[in-house]
Structures are given as C-alpha cells and as structure tokens.
Symmetry: C2
Subunit: 346 residues, 2 copies
C-alpha cells in the first residue's frame, strides 16, 4: 500500500480545505490503494473528520503536531533551522525517512521548497529542484518549469529542467516523446541570453529527447510543444501574467453580460460555454505543482486552494508515485550525465 | 507644422498597410496640422495613393528609396553598417537631421532599434532606449516597459525605465502622478534579484515619482499600477504570454459557441459583448510602441499590423510630439541624475 503524507495545516483554509480534500480524493478514487498520514492538530482534524462518514483508521493515520505550524511569511532559512515539530517539517521528514511515498502541502512555498530539498535531498547531478506546473493549451496541457524555485539559471540548470520536464510530461500527459521548447524572446537561434544559447546547443545534440528549439510566450498555450522550459523568474511572471489575463477577460465579459437585457438573455443560452472555459482555466483543476528533482515525490498545492484543489494535488502525487516517476527522472538525468564529453563542454 | 517620417516599406503588408494607414489617419484627424514624409518606392506609393482622393502634396512628400529595404531577418549590426539608402535608414536619418519630428516603421524591430539609437542617439544619461507598450487593464491601460530592447538589466537601467515610464504615462494616459510598479515574482520586499532590490531602494527614496513597490504578473491587467517596469526579457515573455492567453480563450469560446444550437443562438444576443472584448484586446488598437530614451520620437508599429494598426501607431507618434514628450523625459532623467549622491550609491 502506497502512503501519502499530508501537511493539513498549510494554506489559507488549512484543515477546512485539506481534510475534506483528502475525503474527496478517497471517495472519488475509491481509495485507490492509498493510505494517508495527516500531520496537524489532532483535535481539529478529528472535528472535521467527524463531519464525514467514518474513514477506515488503517488508511488514515493522524500524527499530532499540535499548534506548531510554519507561518506564511516565515523565511525559508528560518523554517529549516527552527521548523522541527511543525506539521510541514514532520510531513516532509516522514517521507524523507521512507515511511511514506509522497508529501503534499498548501503551505509557505519558499519554506516548503527549502525543507523538501534539505530533508528529502536532490537526485544526483541535480543542482536544485524545479517547480512544475500544468497549464492549459489549445490541444490539451503544457508542462511548464521552472515556475519560481530558481530565479537565475545557468545553462546546466535549464538542461536539467528540460530532462525533468520530459519525465513529467511522459507521466502526467502520457506521452512517449513529448516535444520540449526553451522559452525565449524569439524563435530564431541567434536570440536570447548566453545560458539559453548553451542549453540550446546541448539539447539539440543530446538526441534522447524531442527538442523543438526556442519557443515564445505565445507558445505556452498554442500547443506547439508539450513542455516549456524557463528560468524561474520569467516562468513565474509568465504564469502570473496568464492568471491575470484570464481574470481580465472574465471581468470584461461578465461586465458586458450584465450591461444589457439582450446580453443577459444571450448569456443564459451560452452559460455552458463559460462553464467549459472556467473549468479549463480553473486553477483548482490544474492544482498540484510537483517539486521535481528530489529523491521523493513532493507536491505543492496552491496556498488558496479549496478542498477540490487539494484533492487534485493529491491526485498528482498519487499519479507520480504509481508511475515510478522518481526512477524515470533519475534515469533521464543519468543518461545525460553519462554523455560526459558534451556535458563538460558547457 | 509638425512632420512625421514614415518607413512605408516595413512590415508584412508594406505599402498596402502603411500608405492606407496614413490616409486613414489624415481622414480621421482632419489632418491635425501634420505633414508626412514617405520613404519607399515612389512608383508603388503613387499607385496606392491613386486609389484615394488626392492628398495635398504639401502634407505628403515622397522620398524615393526604390527597392532598397531592410529585410525582416537582417541582423541589427548589418543594418547599421549597410542600411544607408533603405527606406528605414533614410526615414530615421531624416528625423535625426531635424527635418521631421518623429518616425514610424513596421519593419524589423532589431534593426529599427539599432538604427534609431545610432542615428538619433540617446538622451543624456540613458544607456539604451526601451520599447514601451500600452496594455489593457480592468480600469484602462497599463504602460509597460521594457518589452524586449534590453534583455539583461542593471538596477540603473530599471530606474531609467521607471522614469521614462512616468513620462510616457503622463502623456499617453494623461495622468499627473502615475503609479509605478517593478515587476517581480512576489510583492514582498525581500524577493527578487539584486538589480530589482537596488532599483527598489532608489525609487523608494527618490520621491519625484509615485512608486508602488513590487508588482506581480497578475498586476499588469489588474490596474493596481499605471506603469509596470520590467527587464526586456521578462517583459517580452510576459507580453507574448498575454497575447497567447487571449488567443487561447477566444479559441475555447468560439469552439464552445459552435458546439450547440443553444450556444449559437445565445451568441447572437451577446455578440456585442465579444465585440467589446475584441476591441479591448485587438493589438491594432494598442499598436504603436514608442522607443523611449531617444532624442526624437520613434514609434515601432507591429510587423503584422494592417492599415488600422498603422494609423494608430501614427496617432501615438503625433500625441508624443504634440505633448513635448522628449522634453518631459529629459527633465525626469535630469532630476534623477542631479540627485547624485543617491544615484552614485547604486
């Protein structure tokens, strides 16, 4: 039986989102052979659990961490130094010690990344883990990384992201040969920064992945590639620009629909179209960003996610565990590292 | 009488967009006291002009540059070295020599920037000009810079962008005290790169502009600031992500509307709402990106803009000229430079 450790105290809604999220996952997936280890304040967890049909104790074990939590404004370094005893620290440590297969948290992103890296550790030859997102595109989904874990990037890091993205897309998008693009300000080979140039050179000659060259911001949603590789700074800004643009368009449309009787009437007939759009861009649906490059599966759920979002983040963790994701990433990175000559040339 | 030099050969549609664009501007603005200098192949310009009611020769002078054009894949350095005699080079040189007040082109962006910088020259204390865009937000428009002219940025450049953005917003958005934000991966002061940190420190203490601190990608369209300052790499990726997201949403919506009879029926009643949305996100409406930091007004029109887009780019140039924009930028930069102590501290 696979086990998932949950930091139930993290996120804006805390236990009110995480515990119902777990229940939703169990009900939707019929258990799926997964057991959960809940780290948080036992009395509060029990109170929420009491609202639902009794969950089998064997598949849901509570580890009482009392009121000890990592605050949302806690600095990562402080979280690492003083975090022992908190729900997030203990959930990650539990996985690091081999008692569970994956960890999920909606807590402080910086602290979660620092603790995951520190306690679980990186795969050999990976400098730092990357935060990976699944974004909508016209023909399905785009895997994008890094979304903010690494603000400045060397070519080696970009190459590692490309290999990790390859592994993520093969598991989460079920693709044998995902197309991988490097995010740049133009598709011409001559454009961009030195690290991008060097990463292009290596990935082009690498051969073991399906490298499509440079892509632009428009290509994240165009579906021309399955994986978009970016430094964490631009990746984060790009992701948030997309979120802002969604909000802006919904704002204009909803304003328009309430502006006239005809539009209101028309809206009734095309409500379904908007439901489809909302479902595609609903951040809860795509919730669950794996921190890739670690020795265990670690998934970051959005800080403001509700129970639906949190249950989807659990799904991501379960999928990665069941697909032996960590082994796949290790193999990809190992293959690349073996091509030492090319690697050293960088 | 103010004069605008036009590179009529630039852009995907060339003369077919630029000359009708000028005619549209003249007809819409009733001349507006502006004369035009057209640089391009005279025989072709004459052929297009013949399709329209005769334009007064006094307000429209043709400078025949024959078949000499800067190709769209021309490297900027080569354009500077060998560009003499081409429509773009001669239009910019004409302005640089003081014969006209502004130049507009839809041609090769890199070449246009390099030639503008080389022939017109930068304002004192400006390292490199920035490409400025006007983007839609929930309450109006956001001025954003740099959109790709400077891929890596020091704190000094970011500060210069902030001051130039202040001047652009005061003219194009008619704001006395535009709110200025620095684009970062979080709003907390502790986040971001070294140049961002340093720029924050200076702008906070500067006092002469309304500095709102760090903003995120979501804030470009949220309207919390009037000016978003970014390095050219992230700015370009952000802009194109926005374009891609618009396209993606229109794709999903249009697919939905044609998927059922009810939705088709509903669409008829809310067509107007989509017309409003399309008009707000239509790149032709916001066409015309000023290259700011030069001694003269230089406006870049989108490479694929049609005559409507080109006429709007002309409008931007005219507005900047009429508002003594260059003087305003010079004054802003001068004030900042005078605060020598702080400036030197960077």
């Amino acid at each position: 039986m696979k086990r998932i450790a949950l930091d139930v105290m993290g996120g804006d809604l805390g236990i009110q989102a995480t515990v119902p999220g777990m229940i939703r996952y169990i009900m939707k997936s019929n258990g799926n052979g997964i057991a959960f280890d809940l780290f948080g304040k036992k009395s509060e967890i029990d109170a929420v659990l009491a609202e639902y049909p009794k969950v089998d104790e064997k598949i849901c074990q509570i580890h009482d961490t009392g009121d000890n939590v990592i605050q949302c404004d806690q600095k990562p370094a402080i979280a690492v130094r003083n975090g022992k005893g908190t729900s997030m620290f203990e959930a990650i440590a539990f996985v690091a010690d081999g008692h569970a297969d994956a960890v999920v948290s909606s807590g402080n992103t910086g602290a979660y990344m620092a603790l995951s890296k520190c306690l679980i550790g990186s795969i050999e030859n990976i400098d730092r883990p990357a935060l990976v997102g699944l974004l909508p595109n016209v023909s399905g989904s785009t895997v994008m990384l890094d979304l903010g874990a690494n603000t400045d990037c060397t070519s080696t890091k970009l190459i590692q992201f490309a290999l990790m993205g390859h592994a993520v897309a093969s598991v989460l998008l079920s693709l044998e040969c995902p197309r991988i693009g490097l995010l740049n300000i133009g598709t011409e080979r001559t454009k961009g920064t030195k690290p991008l140039e060097e990463a292009y050179e290596f990935l082009e000659s690498f051969g073991d992945i399906n490298f499509s060259g440079f892509v632009e911001g428009t290509d994240i949603t165009s579906g021309v590639v399955d994986v978009v590789v970016s430094d964490g700074f631009s990746g984060n800004i790009s992701l948030k620009t997309m979120e802002g643009t969604f909000k802006y368009i919904m704002h204009v449309l909803m304003g328009g629909f309430s502006s006239s009787l005809a539009a209101k009437f028309g809206y009734i007939f095309c409500k379904k179209v908007f439901r489809i759009l909302k479902s595609k861009i609903d951040p809860r649906i795509n919730n669950g960003a794996p921190l890739v490059g670690l020795k265990k599966v670690s998934v970051k759920s959005h800080g403001n996610s509700d129970y639906i979002g949190f249950s989807n983040a659990i799904s991501v963790a379960v999928n990665l565990v069941n697909a032996s994701f960590i082994e796949k990433v290790k193999k990809s990175i190992q293959q690349a590292t073996q091509k030492e000559e090319t690697w050293r040339m960088l």
